[in-house]
Symmetry: C2
Subunit: 161 residues, 2 copies
């Protein structure tokens, strides 16, 4: 299953639980907030500063789903693009802890908390990745747990390629 591209990527065998991935940082501008909300989450508190001031959020704030998408992108850049990722299975326990306001930045860490080879598909393993997303004041913004497939370089039940 390995090819020239994936030979340079990390596989199941190169990873172990406990790995902490430091994410880069993304600044969230007013334009980004409005563009995303217009497409996916068109509420006044994501689109209009005056309406946002009167809302629970207290000012123009990013859709929580945008925070999730931007966090995914940070994880791709810092980690998933360097492993033989085969895509996500789902995630659980996503919690929005604090709004992301105009010109806030998001960063944080992702910890590989579990890694197990699939019994039915020994060429895959399932990584559990716990996100701890923070703003520029190191305040918690979002947590979630992602299940993502990674390739196994030498599946036990198969002859070596």
């Amino acid at each position: 299953m390995t090819d020239k591209i994936s030979d340079s990527l990390k596989h199941y065998e190169d990873l172990e639980p406990g790995l902490v991935i430091q994410l880069g940082i993304t600044r969230v501008t007013k334009q980004m907030i409005i563009e995303f909300a217009t497409e996916f989450d068109p509420f006044p508190f994501h689109l209009d500063e005056q309406a946002a001031k009167k809302s629970l959020l207290g000012g123009l704030a990013a859709s929580g789903w945008q925070t999730a998408g931007l966090s995914l992108r940070l994880l791709v850049d810092a980690f998933l693009s360097k492993v033989d990722s085969r895509g996500g299975l789902g995630f659980s326990d996503l919690k929005w802890k604090r709004p992301v306001m105009v010109n806030d930045s998001i960063t944080g860490t992702v910890t590989l908390t579990d890694l197990r080879q699939s019994e039915s598909h020994p060429e895959w393993a399932i990584m559990t990745l716990e996100f701890d997303i923070r703003n520029q004041r190191d305040e918690p913004v979002m947590t979630m747990s992602l299940a993502n497939l990674v390739g196994v370089a030498n599946p036990k039940n198969k002859s070596a390629a």
Copy 2:
């Protein structure tokens, strides 16, 4: 707390568990898939048809996060824009059941499975909304459970406005 805008919206008192919301339908084009993946989920299987054919997905497929965002938008249009929504708290048990391929459509239902007034903030209630997202062949694509705040028109612990 009610104002002219929210007077026309449904509140906690107008809702009850068991409500089934029929979503509209969104067709997912190649351009949509590539634009979203370029920004949030830049993997070859979301960007390049040849690479996608060799992947687990079997062809160019939308990022699962795009499916989530598009599903949110369907819920806003069908329901959340008609209630006094105060924003999401988080979600759980998101599972991608099947890829969304180029020119697939997504639709489905969302069921209000739980509704309870907040004890600490009696002006809010928490709705649990269970998504059952399907493609044009009625095959399951994604499930998830969203917790979202809705305004209470007449909080018990407060005098009427």
